[in-house]
């Protein structure tokens, strides 16, 4: 009896050890997998929003839910248009992505940084180093020449002169304005100004470029020219572009379309592809 008990105990012990080993191996594999998935996620999606909400006039009788529970991911090298009718929340969403505005709730993570937690001066520096902006109204500095406008952002970053010069020439080559380097914005057409603005946004090789209706003030020729340039830069420099538009010709050029209605994502062809 005693012998049997001892044998049984030994057997149990063996089983327990085996089981423990198994558990360890499985959890190790799991851990590796988790790590791998995380790592995968980390490299590929540069912007990630989770349950993003922006409510204007929340305390009044008619609050405006400008961005409603938006969870999106954007990956490096994307060429994406945010579309939807006027007032659907495109500008608000882009402002949240670029840290120009703070959400009512939810998070915006850019390359692993939760930008909502940054202080207002930290976020300015974050924008300087990570995000390029193109505005509908160009917003070039009027007292600086085209070249100085592009150089300015690199100066803010503390890039040495030699490097700045090279980059400026490279970019002006790309946007086809080498002959207008020393013109002030006032002497350039709207299309030319917007091309300079794109060059400025790209000057310091940001992680991505946000453009809120960049073609809204342009005629169709300038529009297609600007899109050509954006596409080329997207390919050559692998810069991520996220822009809003309600121009159907512009939408056609986008590789991914995120469509909003009343602040909600109603369709996203990227997700359709994936599933």
């Amino acid at each position: 009896m005693e012998h049997f008990l001892a044998k049984f105990a030994k057997h149990i012990k063996k089983k327990v050890i085996e089981l423990t080993r198994l558990i360890i191996v499985i959890s190790y594999l799991e851990f590796i997998c988790l790590l791998k998935i995380d790592f995968w996620d980390f490299t590929m999606s540069i912007i990630k929003t989770i349950n993003l909400n922006k409510i204007y006039d929340a305390e009044t009788e008619i609050p405006v839910h400008a961005v409603n529970d938006v969870s999106l991911e954007f990956e490096a090298g994307e060429f994406t248009a945010i579309i939807g009718p006027s007032g659907c929340g495109k500008t608000t969403l882009l402002n949240l992505l670029g840290g120009l505005d703070r959400p009512t709730s939810g998070t915006v993570t850019i390359d692993g940084t939760d930008i909502i937690k940054l202080s207002s001066s930290e976020i300015i520096d974050f924008r300087l180093r990570n995000i390029g902006f193109v505005f509908q109204a160009y917003n070039l500095v009027p007292v600086l020449t085209a070249k100085e406008n592009v150089e300015f952002i690199m100066q803010l970053q503390g890039i040495p002169k030699q490097q700045r010069e090279e980059r400026v020439l490279q970019l002006f080559e790309q946007i086809g304005l080498k002959d207008r380097l020393n013109n002030r914005p006032g002497k350039l057409s709207g299309g030319q100004q917007q091309r300079v603005a794109v060059a400025r946004a790209l000057a310091s090789k940001p992680k991505f470029v946000l453009a809120d209706e960049p073609t809204a003030n342009l005629d169709s020729k300038s529009t297609s020219n600007l899109l050509d340039i954006m596409e080329k830069l997207n390919e050559v420099e692998n810069t991520t572009f996220i822009f809003s538009t309600h121009d159907s010709r512009v939408m056609k050029r986008a590789r991914r379309l995120v469509s909003l209605e009343d602040g909600k994502v109603v369709s996203d062809n990227n997700q359709m592809e994936h599933r």
Binding site: I124, N139, L140, V141, P142, V143, L144, I153, Q157
Partner: protein, 405 residues
């Protein structure tokens, strides 16, 4: 960062008309304040220099109590103690004087006068008395003749060559009476003294007042008048308390007070002009800030820190101020330089009222550097104060709101 200065410079020329107008208003205020300040400082310096030269010197040594009752009995004899106390590198000259009152009369006219016995050669070397002679000749030490102040001569209706009878009280009550030939008429730039002064050689004066070898004062001229306090305390340390050592400020209290109260008026005027400057700068910078809100918003959005933006606006203000002040100095300095060499003579009522205050009726101008330095610093400080509010606007600035507008 010089890009900020470059941007600031270009920004102030975006609205040329407004910038020029603002600069003109600053310039006018700078011109006015420099002009009045130069005039005031010039007048003060002139009054002080006249008082020091023709009356008290920078420092005087008396027998203790002399200044209180100005009596011929409170005199002293120059001695070794005093001579050694006056050996100081800041004392370049000392003039012994005997000074008292006397009645002067000629014919039917009589007037109370101040009689000053001094060493004519020393006074001339130091204070150029002989250049102030308007008629006749200057006197010398061993002469038995006098100089009469211009207005006193007019009053007594005497001229060079006439004799003047002096009647006074000498040392310990001894009667002093003598008559002296008038050798010259002197114009003294202190109206009070010009009305009643008689100058004679020290020796003769001591004889007249029966106070051989006695002095009422020794006046000291200084190399560096700014160091007067230091020199006084040095002398005091070496002298016994039988003597009093006084600074010109103490002996010319009325004048010092007149200067002080006039100076307060000048400072009030300056404050008003500075306010004009301040509001001019404020208005312009405020407008420049408000109309560029959208531009600033764009700059912050692309990653320019607000502090850099602030710095740019500060540069704009400082450049505006410096430009205006440099122009102001370029225009004003030559004018003031000319006027400092050619003071404007005054006539009429103003001249009379100036004489009542004991001032010479001219408008002298000063071109002392501190007037210009103070002005420059003040304008820059005012500009920086004026920019404070626009800066706070930028600090509180809502980027999105500005972008939407």
């Amino acid at each position: 960062m010089n890009t900020l200065i470059k941007m600031a410079w270009r920004n102030i020329w975006r609205n040329k008309k407004r910038t020029i107008l603002t600069m003109m208003s600053i310039l006018l205020a700078v011109f006015l304040s420099l002009f009045t300040r130069s005039m005031q400082k010039g007048s003060y310096a002139n009054m002080i220099s006249n008082a020091v030269k023709f009356s008290t010197g920078y420092i005087q040594i008396h027998k203790n109590g002399y200044w209180e009752n100005k009596s011929i009995n409170e005199t002293f004899v120059n001695n070794k103690e005093i001579i050694s106390a006056l050996k100081d590198e800041n004392i370049i000259f000392n003039i012994p004087r005997l000074e008292s009152f006397a009645l002067a009369s000629s014919g039917k006219h009589t007037k109370g006068t101040i009689v000053i016995g001094t060493v004519p050669e020393d006074e001339d070397e130091l204070n150029k008395y002989s250049e102030k002679i308007i008629k006749g000749e200057y006197i010398s030490s061993n002469e038995n003749a006098i100089l009469v102040a211009e207005k006193l001569a007019e009053y007594l209706k005497v001229d060079v060559g006439d004799t003047l009878v002096l009647l006074g009280q000498g040392y310990h009550g001894i009667t002093a009476a003598e008559q002296y030939p008038i050798k010259g008429i002197i114009r003294i730039p202190i109206p009070q003294l010009n009305n009643q002064m008689v100058i004679m050689p020290l020796k003769e004066c001591q004889y007249f007042y029966s106070s051989e070898n006695r002095l009422t004062s020794i006046s000291l001229m200084l190399k560096d008048p700014e160091r007067i306090d230091e020199t006084i305390s040095k002398i005091k340390n070496k002298l016994s308390n039988k003597y009093e050592v006084m600074a010109w400020q103490e002996m010319n209290q009325e004048m010092v007070q007149a200067i002080e109260s006039d100076n307060v008026g000048g400072i009030i005027m300056l404050a008003i002009l500075y306010m004009v400057i301040g509001f001019g700068v404020f208005g312009t910078v405020m407008m420049m800030t408000m109309e560029r809100k959208k531009e600033f918003a764009g700059m912050i959005a692309i990653g320019m820190q607000k502090t850099k933006l602030l710095l740019m606006v500060v540069w704009e203000t400082v450049l505006l101020g410096i430009l205006a002040i440099v122009l102001g100095l370029i225009i004003t300095y030559p004018i003031l330089l000319y006027l400092s060499h050619n003071p404007i003579p005054l006539t009429g009522e103003i001249a009379e009222s100036m004489k009542m205050f004991g001032a010479e009726p001219i408008l002298p101008f000063s071109v002392k550097p501190d007037i210009f330095i103070n002005q420059t610093i003040s304008v820059i400080i005012i500009a920086l104060v004026a920019v404070a509010y626009p800066l706070s606007v930028i600090l509180k600035f809502d980027v999105l709101k500005a972008m939407r507008s």
